[in-house]
């Protein structure tokens, strides 16, 4: 795939519809959904048809446009009240991703100076498109910033899917991998399958295969010996929320990878746009961790696998303390410890900060 063709898992369709890839059907089928109903989008976020913190933000922004277009309000205040209600519903779909509330708040704020409901509808459509375009541009810059951190012919490990499928396009952790591969600075990617929902084997493998980037799939439990074997130069993951002190919430299994990486002298890089950084949150202790259905653990792709009678727990995320994070790669530069300062700096940067 040439460098300038971006695969977008979501896009606006002229005429007032949103079109997105149903990621639960991958890799067996590539099914696209088109809808003008924001409730369908909310359900798609809840059921992970649309997933990945940055993409959830983009999808929620577009969903708010759909809600504005379908609302008949002729009064700006009535429309804005309706949108605040819809935003609350969307925000409740998944609690951990910072980008969701970030995008919704930005969308609502954009209507503050509008002259009337029609102006607000147009403003919202423009703002959603801008959020989407800025996310892709941020990922390209994250990719460039991250690729500079890798040594020649690096072998890396990622986790879950922080690719084009998790963002407006291009990807965060996979954006770094993509950029490094195009610069011939990357040799191989280890992909843990990422139980329970297998975003590694279903989505990351699908993306890497599409672009011919060499990868090896492993079960999550094999990440430890893969790291201790000395074949991995860096672990690169995305993030769902980063606290002001650099604690990182990301897909369950990230914290073990971080501990194992440090134990084996391998750097752990977190690649995320500044929209994932939650500066008002002092530390990771306060990050809400989504608990999903135990059925995702006791069955796989609809096939029951576990003995009955017991209970199962299914936390979707874990929190990696900042001490395990070598650097946070953002579109505005690379933040390093102490994170209180460096994350504030990249968040407030108008121009890219040097990493």
């Amino acid at each position: 795939m040439p460098e300038d063709v971006i695969f977008k898992p979501i896009d606006w369709v002229p005429g007032g519809k949103l079109r997105y890839l149903d990621q639960t059907r991958l890799p067996q089928a590539e099914v696209w959904i088109e809808t003008n109903d924001h409730l369908v989008v909310a359900e798609a976020i809840r059921t992970l048809r649309v997933r990945g913190a940055p993409l959830i933000g983009v999808a929620a922004a577009y969903a708010l446009v759909l809600a504005a277009l379908s609302d008949l309000a002729t009064d700006l205040n009535a429309l804005r009240q309706h949108l605040r209600h819809v935003a609350d519903e969307l925000a409740a779909t998944r609690p951990t991703a910072a980008n969701l509330t970030w995008a919704l708040n930005r969308m609502l704020r954009s209507t503050e100076t509008c002259s009337g409901p029609e102006d607000a509808r147009k403003t919202l459509a423009d703002e959603a498109r801008r959020i989407h375009e800025e996310d892709i541009e941020a990922n390209r810059r994250i990719g460039a910033n991250g690729a500079r951190l890798l040594r020649e012919k690096a072998t890396v490990m990622t986790h879950c899917n922080a690719g084009a499928l998790a963002t407006g396009g291009y990807g965060t952790a996979l954006g770094v991998i993509r950029a490094a591969y195009l610069e011939r600075a990357l040799r191989h990617v280890f992909v843990p399958e990422t139980r329970p929902l297998l975003q590694g084997s279903r989505l990351t493998a699908w993306e890497l295969a599409r672009e011919g980037i060499p990868y090896t799939l492993i079960v999550d439990a094999a990440a430890g010996s893969t790291l201790s074997n000395g074949v991995v130069d860096a672990v690169i993951v995305g993030a769902d929320r980063i606290a002001a002190n650099g604690d990182v919430a990301n897909k369950i299994g990230t914290y073990p990878l971080a501990v194992l990486a440090r134990e084996n002298g391998v750097p752990l890089y977190v690649a995320a746009p500044t929209s994932t950084i939650d500066l008002p949150l002092a530390s990771g202790d306060a990050i809400p961790i989504e608990q999903r259905s135990p059925d995702e653990v006791t069955s796989i792709r609809g096939v029951s696998v576990a003995a009955k009678c017991g209970s199962a727990l299914n936390p979707a995320f874990d929190v990696t303390p900042n001490t395990y994070v070598t650097a946070v790669i953002t579109e505005n530069g690379v933040a390093r410890p102490p994170y209180e300062e460096s994350l504030r700096e990249v968040c407030n940067a108008k121009e890219p900060v040097r990493g």
Copy 2:
């Protein structure tokens, strides 16, 4: 289940047959296989119908009896030569478990002083039964020795299945859990599912459910945050081979658990009979790690889950360096660092050594 009723996943059937539970069918179906063909047993070991290091040893011992019974040799040397050939075949089924070669060597040695082929056949049958009975007795003593290490109302985490199903009966790590539960010293068990073959969710959950021991199933990647949440008092695992220096080969995912346990101040106990200890092996570096089919990673219970085109690696075991092992619980007592001394002591003990 009363304390004195032992569930045996394998047993000798009078008349010259071996009967064992096909563990690949659990938990959906309880299917028992009866055979007089040692090649069927070899295939059962290779395909994990019969699995767990101690059980593999017991099964191989019985398989050698079947081979002796079906061989028509009227000359002791011819019979012994045939059995050495069969033993080589059986030893090649799975390379990592120490108990396999341990049991085969013990069986072959038992025929050294026999008077003829009929005497050898009887001797082998007696020796296999003794290996089986001794394994169960060893597990009971491991259970008692291990339960003493747990504090009142402990919550523990295990990995894979080191239960009755992995042994002649009773279990090693699950033997400790079973003994502690009967002494009301155990509150709860966390069970990682253990991809790729799900011995945690299929087998350990099945065993715990049978005995009413409360447990919670988690994906392997959730073990990290479960340990960092401070709810686990000890991690207890089995072993496939223990080197003289205390390095432990066990199911893939054990090394990550060991690192995460130490990082969170949780002791890691390895429960195994002395037949699992390979004193001639100086360290874990020389333990052969079985590589199984990538299909076990890319499909689950026959359902294809991964994107095509990429490769997958499927190491069945990893090696945990001795520095992460708090203690090795054997039938002859509890070995602690430095392991060179303590493991030799428990291996050479005629009477139980105090832990």
